[in-house]
């Protein structure tokens, strides 16, 4: 009913040029041209997936879930590389996605480098330089076998994860992100490596901001 309670409460709508109500309107219109434009746009990448919209919608809708579906489609179709924010999926896949398969964690101290995370402050710099000692003091089981915080996750377990990723289509999704990102990097003439974050294309999509997202 275009009531706007979702946009009223949306953190992204306050910060970006973004309106979840309008996104739902567009999707509901079933207009192929408009929807394709949406999938190629910056717009669908502004949502923070907080789901505050779900709590309030008087029709029982969730714009956040609609946005997630649009993001999935945008990647599957390769449209995500048209937008600056969409291209960031490559960075996320390399940083987080590969870490899941490599270590069994999404986020781990090893991948939160002070250089890429200055906002973590000098305390994190200290933690980074003394991780084993600090984790020991905290009662973790850092990189050891057995239960405990930041334990080393056994190769057999990582293989189970790998199999799950294969069977459920996550490897396909990862390959899709890679494929279109490589095309884009080549088109822009930016160096891209086969894996990892030490390449120009990664740093570009990770840090580039054209400054016009908030207007």
């Amino acid at each position: 009913m275009n009531c706007g309670v979702c946009t009223a409460i949306c953190p992204a709508a306050e910060f970006y040029h973004y309106d979840p109500r309008v996104i739902c309107d567009t999707v509901q219109s079933k207009d192929e041209k408009l929807i394709e434009a949406l999938l190629r746009s910056e717009t669908i990448w502004y949502c923070g997936e907080c789901m505050s919209c779900k709590t309030r919608c008087p029709r029982g809708n969730t714009p956040g879930f609609v946005v997630m579906a649009l993001r999935k489609l945008s990647q599957e179709l390769g449209y995500f590389t048209d937008s600056e924010k969409g291209r960031q999926q490559f960075a996320i896949k390399r940083a987080i996605g590969e870490n899941i398969l490599r270590s069994g964690y999404c986020v781990h101290p090893d991948i939160v480098s002070p250089q890429m995370h200055p906002e973590q402050g000098p305390v994190w710099d200290w933690i980074s330089r003394n991780t084993p000692e600090i984790m020991e003091k905290m009662g973790s089981n850092y990189k050891q076998e057995g239960a405990g915080g930041l334990r080393s996750i056994a190769p057999e377990v990582l293989e189970e994860l790998n199999q799950i990723f294969e069977v459920t289509g996550c490897h396909t999704m990862f390959d899709t992100i890679e494929k279109y990102s490589k095309e884009k990097a080549d088109e822009l003439g930016i160096e891209i490596s086969d894996e990892g974050i030490g390449n120009e294309y990664f740093m570009t999509v990770f840090s580039e901001n054209n400054g016009i997202h908030n207007i």
């Binding site: 009531c3 706007g4 309670v5 009223a8 409460i9 309106d19 109500r21 008087p58």
Partner: protein, 350 residues
């Protein structure tokens, strides 16, 4: 006719029940009105001035009282009906104290109750101060006392929130309660008359100005009284440290989220079927609408008859209606009851 007039029991002594009682009495029938409260009048007793012309509600109450002069009905107050049991020749109407009545026809006119605004938790009714309902406001205006915030200050900025408890799957009422929009316009004007310096904002989704002179009143609210209408449903109300209220909505016409502070917020609450209607309806074997109101047999041809022969419905127990529409509906129910009784009589003669 020379035989004893049939007995009609009307459940509910609000506008619908009283108007039907007058009409049926005037047509010669024996009418008993069972009213659960200690006085008749129903929700009409709560209202200050009626839209769209600001008629004092007392005028309608007087009209209803005078209607009884021709063959006055028997009115029993403090009589709460808990069930209606249909039988072949008569219907049994049973009160909460066990007393039973017999009737040839039962007309259910149990009316509505106001949506409990506490259920809309995100609006903070009865949690944060200075949030009242439209019913609270009618009461305030009727009392003649100046409208103040809880700390005794005069509100400088007032918000009216449309669609509270209506058009809302979250609280379980997806229907529109029909009369809240015009009430919002009416009360906004009344507040502006009361506090000419106050800024008044109405937050709406659609302005349902369906009746005669409604749209004209809406235009007057904007042109003459300077009331601002913002198209956006309110998402959340929170309290500031100074006791004022922070309200969040999207101005959908400009596509921008907004937040504003107000001294007083009025929630335009919708209608739900009156307490007791469900039990009565179930006992009588009636059907219900999706909004849980009592269902009539047909939207065009038979708005007052139900699926149980001899049991009729009128007024807001079947759908949200204004006072004017309720009176019209009560007269329509009267006509239908009279026809039905005539048909029955002819049948039994053949």
């Amino acid at each position: 006719m020379t035989k004893t007039p049939q007995h009609i029991i009307i459940i509910g002594g609000g506008p619908a029940g009283l108007e039907a009682a007058s009409s049926l009495g005037a047509a010669g029938y024996k009418v008993t009105v069972l009213e659960k409260d200690e006085k008749t009048g129903g929700k009409l007793n709560l209202w200050y001035k009626l839209f769209p012309g600001f008629r004092p509600s007392g005028e309608v109450q007087e009209y209803l009282a005078n209607g009884h002069k021709m063959n006055p009905p028997e009115i029993i107050t403090n009589a709460e009906v808990v069930s209606v049991l249909p039988e072949t020749d008569h219907h049994k109407v049973i009160l909460s104290d066990g007393k039973a009545f017999k009737a040839d026809v039962v007309l259910i006119a149990t009316g509505f109750q106001v949506f409990s605004a506490e259920k809309k938790e995100e609006y903070g009714y009865k949690i944060y101060d200075n949030i009242i309902t439209s019913v609270d406001l009618e009461n305030q205006l009727k009392s003649g006392n100046p409208v103040k915030t809880v700390t005794g200050a005069t509100p400088q900025r007032i918000a009216f929130i449309h669609c509270v408890g209506s058009r809302d799957k979250k609280v379980g009422n997806i229907y529109c309660s029909r009369v809240c929009c015009i009430t919002g316009v009416k009360q906004a004007i009344e507040m502006k008359e009361h506090l000419p310096k106050a800024e008044i904002f109405n937050f709406y989704m659609d302005m349902r100005m369906f009746g005669q002179n409604f749209e004209e009143l809406y235009i007057e609210a904007q042109q003459k009284w300077g009331i601002t209408f913002i198209r956006g449903r309110v998402s959340e109300i929170a309290e500031n440290i100074d006791g004022s209220l922070q309200l969040k909505a999207e101005d959908t016409l400009s596509g921008r989220p907004m937040k504003m502070n107000f001294d007083l917020v009025v929630l335009l609450v919708g209608m739900v079927p009156a307490l007791g209607t469900e039990a009565i309806g179930k006992s009588a074997g009636l059907a219900f609408t999706s909004g849980n109101f009592l269902a009539s047999n047909d939207t065009h041809f038979n708005q007052n008859e139900t699926c149980t022969p001899g049991i009729f419905v009128t007024g807001t127990c079947k759908e949200p209606l204004s006072v004017a529409e309720t009176l019209t509906d009560a007269r329509a129910a009267t006509v239908r009851i009279i026809s039905w009784l005539r048909e029955k009589e002819l049948e039994s003669n053949n």
